[in-house]
């Protein structure tokens, strides 16, 4: 999906704050490549709408009067996998962002972002990019290292690294095959470390001899892994607790 389409992307907004919703609507309406498909202030009508309609982008607030945006995202990811979802976050703090990513989000916008920035972020996501903060990168690094050590799957994590030619752009990593742990390719690990240390995408691309777009792709893939991981982790936990007797063996 790296080719930039000239199509107009359909956008759905879910935001309970009237002023903010109007602002976001303006953002979408003000850009020629974006088209507002629907706009909701609560969760229920949005879910009803998605039961029947498809959309290219979803911009959703987490705290809604009748529930959390996470539920809506889980529904949509199931029903419309092609729909890219972003969260409207106040602070971009790791707790909320990670929960969103695990529910299937591929990015987030800040409530106080400029209108142009929001539109740019939406289009960038559609082009295969994902925003990430150093704090979230740090969190991911912290979380993945112990997992690899604990389950003794460090060799599995290391094997794709070993076969990866350093000059290629690293799009062929097969690390996703393992579902129980998040396995990072060496490239992904390096990119995450750079981000954690405060380097921008451009600086990383320069240092690694790759394009900014590739860096962005890494992040989006990483988000995908997180979402997959969160699903399998839930199944694994349920299995471990004996909730899924029948399917347990198949799933493992």
């Amino acid at each position: 999906m790296s080719a930039v389409k000239q199509d107009v992307w359909r956008v759905v907004l879910v935001e309970d704050n009237q002023a903010n919703r109007s602002f976001l609507e303006t953002c979408v309406a003000g850009h020629p490549q974006l088209q507002l498909a629907a706009s909701f202030g609560t969760l229920a009508p949005a879910r009803a709408w998605f039961a029947e309609h498809e959309s290219d982008l979803l911009l959703v607030d987490l705290g809604l009067p009748d529930g959390t945006g996470l539920d809506l995202m889980r529904d949509v990811r199931q029903r419309w996998p092609a729909c890219d979802m972003l969260v409207v976050s106040m602070f971009g703090d790791e707790e909320n962002v990670l929960a969103s990513i695990e529910a299937g989000a591929v990015g987030y916008v800040h409530k106080d972002d400029e209108a142009a920035d929001i539109a740019d972020t939406l289009l960038a996501v559609k082009r295969g990019a994902s925003p990430i903060s150093p704090m979230i990168a740090r969190h991911l690094l912290r979380r993945m290292q112990p997992l690899a050590h604990r389950t003794g799957e460090a060799p599995v994590a290391a094997s794709p690294v070993a076969v990866l030619p350093a000059s290629t752009q690293g799009t062929e990593d097969k690390a996703e095959s393992t579902s129980e742990t998040i396995v990072l390719s060496r490239r992904e690990q390096e990119v995450l470390e750079f981000i954690a240390r405060g380097f921008s995408y451009a600086e990383i691309a320069r240092q690694q001899g790759i394009t900014v777009h590739t860096v962005q792709t890494y992040i989006k893939k990483l988000y995908g892994k997180l979402a997959v991981h969160s699903r399998s982790e839930a199944v694994y936990e349920a299995n471990r607790l004996g909730l899924l007797d029948t399917f347990g063996s198949k799933i493992r």
Binding site: F91, D113, P134, M135, R138, A196, R197, G198, E203
Partner: protein, 652 residues
């Protein structure tokens, strides 16, 4: 036993009591003096002796037992002497020492009995005591005897003997019964009155007497030895219990020594056996002394030396110079020591009201008269066929002591169990107390942490968002004619939002993570730098952990850098900003260098003063310099080595 015998018996007992108390001197004196009295009592006068050969025959009743206590005596013959020999007529019991002092060898006793008719049922002659062995002849026909009549003589001296007389041996009218007695090694030779009668009646007496004098003594000895062995084993496993060890050894030796009474055919040669049993008895008594002293808990080195000395002296004296007087003196001393130690033990038991002490008292109360009785018997002051009491009283005494000591053991075991139980209870209680106190402490810590966090957040809101929001409000209320500066208000509000985001980031920063702090700062500030058209050069190296970088300190560093960035944005007019971080001289150097106008102010502005104040709180230094690009370089120097700095909780 007739009345006069009984009187003599009891008189002897009382005398023995006194003797045992008077000990050595009494023993020595008694050795000789009463012997004459007994001699005069038992032997017939010379006038009576003249009639010896004519002593009347005793008519035996057909259906009963007759005790023959008058006899004619003749020493030194191997074959039975005839009626015309120079017989000495006397009354039994007869001790050789009375009539033949110092004589060893053979002694014939001649009895005349009359059968009114030859008995049909089998008859027997019963020898309650013949020292040491004896053979019965009837009408010149030798009867069977047990053991050996020649050296070494079988030691039947304490063993009753029953000799069956074949039916054809008797004849109607006068019959002659002769008893050939042979002496042995150091023994009180002699013969007690013999009995003659139907076998069936004598057998009962014989069996009863054998049980009392032989079988039961064997049993008691084995029991005593086993008890002693048991105690010795106990002592071997607990070497501190000397009292038990001495008592056990005493019991074992006593068992061995007493066996001499009933061992008719000892395994060892007579001489050796006599000495062994003698030594065993002496040592047993001396070890009992040691027991009493250990039991009382007193220990005198000279007393131990005395006891050990006697242990060696008694056997040596016995072997080298077997003098009766010396022997009596030694025994006297031993008995004296034994009595004194026993008296001490009794006194201690009564004085300390020792638990189970009554058993010791009971044992002593039985032992002392019994020992006196046996001693008097040995001094020939009692009937010749008296039964020794010590073989029975000894085990009883040992049993009493053992019962008492076992009580000590049982009590100490119970006490140990109680202590263990108490200990377990105490430990459990302490554990609970400790757990409770830990829980209280943890709760307190949690409360303190929550309180500290609340204080921090409040201060954060006050310094950051609160301050900016207040500024924005004041700017909106500006009384100036120019009206409200919307740009300024927007900027202030953006500042307040940025501060809020930085505050949120600070919450999840690991302690001392300066790189993380800088990274998040850059992430937050990038939109503003972009809007201002300021190029940021990122020159942050991998940094070690800042040891003093606790959450409040990191927040202060954020304030300082944010203030520095704001200054660059607002006042410097720079187009390029380098954010550097590296380690220099063991310190963290975080710097902001711009290419702007440089430092123009006359003094330090309010912003810089605030930065310095914050820096001082976290032990940091602020250095202002000219940057290589010509602008200002702001260095925040953080020490890497721990040092004391003002407690943040009290610093504003």
């Amino acid at each position: 036993m007739d009345l006069s015998n009984a009187l003599r018996y009891w008189r002897g007992c009382v005398l023995g009591w006194m003797l045992s108390l008077l000990a050595g001197v009494g023993v020595a004196g008694a050795q000789v003096a009463p012997a004459h009295a007994v001699l005069s009592a038992n032997t017939l006068t010379p006038a009576e002796q003249h009639l010896a050969g004519l002593s009347p025959a005793v008519v035996l009743p057909q259906g009963g037992v007759t005790v023959l206590s008058e006899a004619c005596v003749l020493a030194g013959s191997e074959a039975p002497p005839g009626a015309e020999a120079p017989w000495l007529h006397l009354v039994l019991p007869h001790r050789w020492a009375q009539t033949h002092p110092g004589y060893e060898g053979t002694m014939w006793y001649r009895f005349r009995v009359t059968h009114t008719q030859v008995p049909q049922a089998p008859w027997a002659v019963y020898l309650p005591r013949a020292v040491m062995n004896a053979q019965v002849w009837v009408n010149g026909v030798p009867m069977a005897y047990s053991g050996s009549m020649s050296t070494p003589v079988t030691r039947n001296w304490y063993v009753p003997q029953l000799v069956q007389i074949p039916a054809g041996t008797w004849r109607e009218g006068d019959n002659i019964i002769q008893v050939k007695v042979v002496s042995g090694f150091v023994s009180r030779n002699g013969l007690a009155p013999i009995q003659v009668g139907p076998l069936s009646q004598l057998e009962a007496t014989y069996k009863w007497q054998t049980l009392i004098q032989v079988d039961a003594v064997h049993f008691a000895n084995v029991a005593l030895f086993a008890l002693g062995l048991f105690m010795v084993i106990g002592w071997m496993r607990d070497r501190g219990q000397h009292a038990i060890g001495f008592q056990g050894l005493a019991a074992m030796l006593s068992g061995i020594g007493t066996t001499t009474l009933v061992a008719a055919n000892p395994f060892l040669p007579s001489v050796v056996w006599e000495n062994v049993s003698y030594i065993a008895v002496v040592w047993s008594q001396l070890l009992t002394c040691l027991f009493f002293w250990r039991f009382v808990g007193r220990r005198w080195w000279w007393a131990d030396v005395l006891v050990y000395g006697l242990m060696v002296a008694a056997p040596l004296t016995h072997l080298i110079a077997p003098s009766t007087w010396l022997l009596a003196l030694l025994f006297g001393v031993i008995y004296l020591v034994l009595l004194i130690s026993m008296a001490q033990a009794i006194y201690s038991v009564i004085k300390t009201r020792r638990r189970d002490g009554g058993w010791l008292l009971a044992g002593c109360a039985v032992l002392v008269p019994s020992a006196a009785h046996d001693l008097i018997f040995q001094l020939n002051l009692l009937p010749f066929d008296t039964v020794y009491l010590l073989p029975y009283v000894g085990p009883f005494m040992m049993g009493c002591i053992f019962y008492m000591l076992a009580g000590d053991y049982a009590r100490s075991r119970r006490a140990l169990n109680r202590i263990n139980d108490n200990l377990a209870t105490t430990v459990t209680k302490r554990e609970n107390e400790l757990r409770e106190s830990f829980e209280r402490l943890a709760e307190l810590e949690r409360a303190q942490a929550v309180s500290a966090e609340r204080t921090r957040i409040l201060r954060d809101m006050h310094d950051g968002v609160g301050a900016h929001l207040t500024s924005a409000l004041r700017q909106l209320q500006s009384p100036r004619d120019a009206g409200v500066d919307l740009g300024l208000v927007t900027q202030t509000l953006r500042d307040s939002l940025d501060q809020l985001k930085l505050s949120v980031d600070a919450l999840s920063l690991a302690p001392g993570d300066v790189v993380g702090l800088l990274a998040s700062l850059r992430f937050r500030i990038t939109p503003r730098l972009k809007a201002a058209g300021l190029e940021l050069v990122w020159d942050v190296q991998d940094l070690p952990t800042w040891p003093e970088g606790h959450a409040p300190a990191l927040r202060q560093l954020q304030y300082i850098l944010f203030e520095g960035l704001s200054n660059v944005l607002q006042h410097s007019g720079a187009t390029r900003l380098v954010l550097g971080a590296c380690v220099i001289d063991g310190q963290l150097d975080v710097s902001l260098s711009d290419n702007g106008r440089g430092w123009t102010g006359d003094g330090e502005g309010q912003g810089l003063q605030a930065m310095r104040a914050r820096a001082s709180v976290i032990g940091a230094n602020i250095v202002l310099a000219t940057s290589p690009q010509g602008g200002v370089a702001l260095h925040v120097i953080l020490p890497l080595h721990a040092q004391r700095w003002t407690d943040l909780s009290s610093a504003a």
